[in-house]
């Protein structure tokens, strides 16, 4: 097939989930079917975009043929493609899971349009090359996420409001920075700006505001306070998406801006500061995960800790740029998705997620326990998992550039992760009777969790592929 006949695969990556979401609003009764078909179609379209990248190289698309200073451009390159794939691969099992998870029609009606819109927004974020458009995607991302958290019912409203306020704070910081950049340079297109940016105090202020805004949204310690209640309180598939993908999207954006737009201003001191925050996140998150009294809280604090690794990886962007960070993002997305889905299964079966009483539910659901264990292996970083690959890349970059503290933090944190993962797994092998499930856990819910867990392990073998894509089509 001649792909030049279909030059808009990139645009379809945004449009397909958006259209499916709109359709799910119009025909709420078929929400499940539309969601599934939309998810499969999006995966196919991302495949199309990949073929296009393979045959034509990086793409810039002018929407409505409006040129760059005035119009909004979409850009497809290696990192964006990796994020598109991560989102698609993690979202598909979550979609399958959500099909059986939501029981009341009211939840179904609300979930499907929002979920597809969230997907479309994430894809738009990866592909946008315009600062103001990026602000819009960030804003959409937070609003949709907040409503999805609130789907859990009255108990989650408090967490959702907190999430909303913190995220709006981040968005406003970003917007102010966009205004400053526009005031200073009179343009918003990232590629054109990147050629013009100079290290002036005004640009520095914009960089600071933008970075703080994005770090709030990425929940890097100590700006993480909104994350544990929101991610632990949301419905299981929503927790999985938020932890696996949404926080990564803002991290991806931070990295993109630091590596392209602000590269003259990003100093060693700045990246070191983020690295130190990362170490703080690993210590604090792991400690809280060890103390957590609820399973989903444990998994949410584990996200806080794991986001610390991305902070650590950012200190290495001068030697390793995209590769370790993106590998880590992908590995963690699969593992954390699997973990939250499995945790959701235990919660559904037991009717609660209190650590003290969860072991009966663990014994009743061996497949989910297996999924949880596979995800744990990847989080700890044992070979041959995706987590191992990511940590190995980070470790070798740290050692090559002689940053021993980072190497030490990487090795030590694996141990901390192992402690809280085994805190759960140990409860699965305690003797006792399996419980009679309170709520029904369908086989699909168990197998989609397992699918993601397997993906987290199999990623360990995809290292070459990731390296190739990033080396061949950098930003």
């Amino acid at each position: 097939m001649d792909l030049s006949l279909h030059p808009h695969w990139t645009v379809w990556c945004i449009v397909v989930p958006l259209l499916a979401g709109g359709l799910a609003v119009l025909v709420p009764r078929w929400g499940k079917t539309i969601g599934l078909i939309g998810a499969v179609l999006t995966l196919i379209v991302v495949g199309g975009a990949t073929l296009q990248l393979l045959s034509h190289g990086p793409q810039r698309i002018e929407i409505g043929s409006w040129g760059a200073p005035l119009g909004i451009q979409l850009q497809l390159d290696g990192p964006a493609l990796m994020m598109l794939w991560t989102t698609a691969l993690v979202s598909l099992p979550i979609t399958v899971y959500a099909r059986d998870y939501f029981q009341t029609p009211q939840q179904q009606i609300r979930f499907w349009p929002l979920w597809l819109l969230l997907w479309s927004t994430m894809n738009m974020l990866y592909l946008s090359a315009d600062l103001f458009n990026l602000y819009i995607t960030l804003e959409l991302l937070s609003f949709v996420s907040v409503v999805l958290v609130a789907l859990a019912g009255p108990n989650a409203v408090r967490a959702a409001i907190r999430y909303l306020l913190m995220n709006l704070l981040g968005s406003l910081g970003f917007l102010l920075a966009v205004a400053l950049m526009y005031g200073a340079y009179g343009m918003l297109d990232i590629n054109m700006l990147a050629e013009q940016v100079e290290a002036t105090p005004l640009t520095g202020l914009a960089l600071a505001l933008m970075s703080i805004g994005l770090l709030v949204k990425s929940a890097l310690f100590p700006l993480h306070v909104w994350l544990p209640p929101a991610h632990a309180g949301a419905p299981a598939p929503v927790s999985a998406v938020l932890s696996a993908l949404v926080v990564k999207a803002s991290f991806y954006l931070l990295l993109l801006l630091w590596l392209t737009l602000y590269s003259p201003l990003v100093t060693r001191e700045l990246t070191t500061l983020v690295g130190l925050l990362g170490i703080g996140a690993i210590l604090w998150g792991s400690l809280q995960a060890l103390r957590a009294s609820r399973l989903k809280q444990l998994v949410a604090y584990s996200t806080v800790a794991q986001l610390g690794y991305i902070g650590l990886a950012i200190t290495l962007i001068d030697v390793a740029a995209w590769q370790p960070v993106l590998t880590f993002i992908i590995a963690h997305a699969c593992a954390k998705g699997a973990m939250f889905l499995a945790a959701g299964n235990f919660q559904r079966a037991a009717g609660h997620d209190r650590m003290a009483l969860i072991s009966a539910a663990l014994r009743a659901l061996p497949v989910s326990v297996f999924a949880f264990a596979l995800a744990g292996i990847s989080l700890i970083g044992l070979p041959p998992s995706g987590g191992f690959l990511a940590k190995w890349l980070l470790l070798s970059a740290a050692l090559d550039s002689g940053r021993w503290l980072i190497a030490l933090a990487l090795v030590g944190s694996g141990l901390l992760t192992a402690l809280y993962v085994f805190r759960v797994l140990e409860r699965a092998v305690r003797p006792g009777a399996a419980l009679k499930p309170v709520g029904r856990v369908s086989p699909l819910m168990e197998w989609s969790a397992l699918g993601l867990g397997l993906l987290a392990i199999l990623l360990g073998f995809a290292g070459m592929w990731i390296t190739q894509i990033l080396a061949e089509w950098p930003v």
């Binding site: 306020l165 704070l169 406003l172 102010l176 205004a179 526009y182 005031g183």
Partner: protein, 90 residues
Amino acid sequence: MSTVAAYLVTGGLLFIIGLHGLILRRSLLRKILALNIMDSGVFMILLSLAARSAPPRSGTPGDGINRHCGRRQRDGPGTGAPGACPQPLY
């Protein structure tokens, strides 16, 4: 330029006042109001940045404003005297 600078500074102050309220106030309603004040600060900055180079009211031939107002005159009768640019309602 000094007027613009004054508006810019005011916008920045509004942003900081809102930030202060958002972090320190406990009531949800006050927090939301504080967010709105931050919003207003950002909008003020955006507007005063745009005001640095005011576009001509009745533009030169060929620029976007002029074409737009010419079309409005053709489409809607009675929107203004011939040759004058109709003022938008809001």
